[in-house]
Symmetry: C3
Subunit: 424 residues, 3 copies
């Protein structure tokens, strides 16, 4: 696990310098690197495509950008950090006074050494982000201002990876890939999703698992618009974001609030005795906003460590690879694996001998289950499964009602299924 944590951190570091946005070559380069770990199906959706209530915007690419003083020194330089440029800046090439420039400069007064992250996707605008202390040190005078970007018809790019399951019903795992040099938000989520997909592919899970790497909001909306069939198959889902900081885990419930993924997550987090927070759904945050919009209302929750906007480094240059740690990412990954291990086995069985107890003894269901106190617990688990397998109770319900572990209950259901006493 530690090794996996280090591998995920290495992926974060490798992806960190790329200049991602909601469209453009930075997204393509990111998907190419993820593609080295997982086979990806990459989709290119043309500018102007209608997607639900939205329209795919023009594609944005940038080569260079800077503010230079009259001596030609770059006082703000895209080459040093892609955060320096307002996302989706239109091209500009001009010379202007500092006072003319000021309305286009964004800083963080509270954190004078940090560079903020800002965008203007749908309102044509240009601008620079810089440290307050850099701004404070700029003398009045003329500056050369240049943004060498293009905003032109092109494509919105996203990718999918599907782990085929025994049934067509799907679990969707989604993470946004539109943020530039920000590590926790969301390279850590991308890394956890990538390694989670890899570990699922080693099994044949019950559900089909679909991993979605797409730009936030417009990417999720594009996927939802183009995949009406798949959307109908989605039974559960998880949005991964802010998955690598040192804070405790936070699970934000789906809009339904008691969706199966919500109940499984609660069970796993409680059973594992990890410190954690469960929060109710709010219509703000990441792409759970789209999956849980009332027309879809999917059972999709969101797993983070410190949640959305909950830490000072959020959307600043301080959210760098040092801010995320291998152990935290490994822990997030482990929870995902535990959750999907429960979700994937959580079915409703029906007791086929529901009148009185079936005679377990003559079916060898006492002795076949090993040591003394284990055998007693296995017997209790079988009685619980028989008692509650009326079509209304899932194995998770039975585990919670009985106080026995999900694994014990699932094993009992398996033994009873093997003896023909229950059917799924």
């Amino acid at each position: 696990m530690t090794a996996t944590g280090e591998e995920m951190h290495a992926l974060v570091e490798r992806l960190y310098p790329l200049c991602r946005s909601i469209t453009g070559d930075g997204v393509r380069a990111t998907l190419a690197i993820i593609g080295e770990h997982l086979p990806l199906q990459v989709h290119e959706v043309p500018t102007g495509t209608q997607v639900l209530d939205w329209t795919v915007p023009q594609e944005w690419n940038i080569r260079d950008a800077y503010v230079a003083d009259t001596a030609g020194n770059r006082v703000v330089d895209f080459a040093a950090s892609n955060l320096h440029v307002l996302g989706y800046s239109v091209p500009v090439s001009a010379t202007m006074s500092l006072s003319e420039l000021r309305p286009h400069l964004h800083t963080l007064a509270d954190h004078p050494a940090w560079v903020p992250y800002r965008t203007s996707y749908y309102t044509p605008e240009w601008g620079f982000c810089l440290a307050q202390k850099t701004l404070d040190a700029l003398p009045d005078g003329e500056y050369e201002v240049r943004v060498d970007s293009t905003l032109a018809d092109g494509h919105l790019t996203y990718a999918e990876h599907v782990v085929p399951g025994q049934v067509a019903d799907e679990v969707i795992v989604s993470c946004h890939v539109c943020h530039p040099s920000l590590a926790n938000d969301n390279l850590a989520g991308i890394a956890v999703a990538t390694f989670l997909a890899g570990s699922l592919a080693e099994q044949t899970p019950y559900y089909t698992y679909r991993f979605l790497f797409a730009p936030g909001t417009i990417g999720a909306i594009t996927w939802l618009a183009r995949n009406a069939e798949a959307v109908r198959r989605v039974k559960h889902g998880l949005v991964l974001a802010c998955a690598g900081d040192r804070g405790q885990l936070t699970y934000k419930q789906s809009r339904q609030g008691d969706a199966e993924i919500d109940r499984v997550m609660r069970h796993v987090l409680l059973a594992s005795e990890r410190p954690h927070r469960m929060t109710e759904f709010t219509p703000y945050g990441y792409d759970e906003r789209q999956f849980c919009s009332p027309g879809f209302n999917l059972g999709v929750g969101s797993l983070s460590r410190t949640p959305y906007a909950g830490y000072p480094e959020y959307h600043t240059s301080a959210d760098n690879p040092d801010f995320v740690c291998p152990a935290a990412m490994a822990d997030t990954l482990a929870v995902c694996q535990e959750v999907f291990a429960v979700l994937d086995r959580n079915r409703r069985y029906v007791n086929l001998r529901p009148h009185g107890e079936p005679q377990l003894g003559r079916r060898g269901l006492y002795d076949s289950l090993g040591g003394r106190s284990d055998a007693k617990q296995a017997e209790m688990a079988m009685l619980w499964v028989l008692s509650l397998s009326d079509g209304d109770h899932s194995l998770l319900d039975i585990a919670e009602r009985s106080g026995l572990s999900f694994d014990t209950i699932a094993a009992a259901a398996g033994a009873l299924h093997g003896s023909g006493l229950v059917q799924a």
Copy 2:
């Protein structure tokens, strides 16, 4: 508001001396004075009319009543206070010893200076109410006893005032007008209802508001019996009683317990941070008993300050105009106005773009809403309204779920409605 409190108190003082009962000229005189504030439709229902399980009784009127000693001194005198006569006393004119008289005398041993209020509507009886200390001071001997009353076929009188709304669905506000010289029970309720009606008439509310000024029990039953059509239109209602004493507010829930009026009242009382009590429905109290009887089961609660029978002055001469105060009546009125302001706007909207979030930006729904943190809150409110406007959630539900104020949510719904994103 203070001015309104004083005006309501002046109305209480003016109505106080009148000898009201469940029928008779005292009720007519009371309605005439209310009619100076509000146009009233006065109804006269003949004695003997069948109303549900009851029959309208004979009309009672009284001109004089006293107990006089042999010297002709009136030791108990109706002219001093109408409480001195047992309500609905049959006529009597006799001379008798104190011991013969005693079974007809009612006092309060616990409060020897107070005169109790007693009635005998449906069992023919005569009697006097007096202070215990007055009784104790009476020497043995002969007394002249006279009740100059008439109990004869006539009418039961009640009145209505209707504030027309945008829809025919009704809110009923009811107060009993049958008590003689008792200020809190129920002249304060009458005064609050009168001024509430006046303030509603200045707007065009959504609901039609019907104010009912009627004698307790038999009056409500008579109205229910004669207005089957209107009863079907009543969606919400409030009984006003004991509305002016200095105690904290008490809201008694409807029999339904979770009727919309119950939820709105709870929300307003909590949001306003007024000290208050919420109590469950009991089949005792005021005319909510009739409106909430199982055959009607209307969403009608009851608002009081100190509730029914909850104060020592209840149904005694100590419930006089000094017992009620202008500020308390003004506060009761204000709560009613706040409650109806919420109730009147509390509708269920349906998101017309429920698949994903609609693009608010291109509709100008970010900037159009004023200052910085206001704008952020307005945006959150719009996202909440969009998320929960699935036909199952009212604006009150959304306010409670989001933690935002009802006004903020209602404003967001209005903005979204203006952009065609939701419909009622």
Copy 3:
């Protein structure tokens, strides 16, 4: 009541020496003694009969059994206590060394002076149960081992006693009769059931009460298999077990959890202010396992004092007649009587004058009910019954909602029924 406690204890003492099992003459002798108190219908079901998922086993009878040393001294002797023989031991007659014998010897290391109770109904086996200290004192050497038992086709025996009611709907009271010399488990339960049946027979209850005296598990399963018609009539039920120890009462709820018997039991135990425990259903314990299996899912709970396996004396020679006490059995019996007194009167009425309050005064429903504060309470009770008798609320619901006693509510319902204001 004390007298009844002593009578029940005498019955326990009389039944104690008999060697009961799931079949055999010990059960027949037990039923014969119960039959001296109650007319019983005794059923004999042949070996090999299919009953639900089970088969009636061969009948077991035993005449003698011992382990003797070479001097002929019986070191373990069935004649001293029937617990010494493993229940359903197959016959054996052999001489063997102590080490060969050891695997057939059962002791309790934690309680070296007590003899455990063990059985092997469905796996052919023989064995002896003895005190650990007896075993420890046995010298090595040869022992004569003899079990003079027969295991042969015969019958399973159980008995019923029915108290006819006004309706065919049934309440079943069940107790297991298969345990040999164990007093609390379940001679105390048998004694309470016997005297409960006797006291019910003195009335004509509303429900028909069926008492079942049958061996545990296989007996209940046999009854369920052979009485499909009666099972459909069972509306409520109670399993009596461990009914006589000095611990507080424990009620284990039915699988439904909110069955009427569960609610009545909770009400009676709370109202009586007895210390007690309410526990949720588990699929382990006594014959509630069978009655509550999902195919039947009857409203059957289980009343014990210290519950199943909850005391060290459980299933040992220490569960002797001294372990149970007359007062505890009398208390268990009293609770059963109180519970059935409520259950038997707990019906849903419908208010026939649901629009407004009916005029109680002209029907004489105020005065006809005795003293002052009683009359007030009776009036409140009538108002509650009228208010909630909409077909959804039982008298128990109304008692709990109003805070009045069940008896007061039931009396009010009776008075209203007498006046034609409600119907059942």
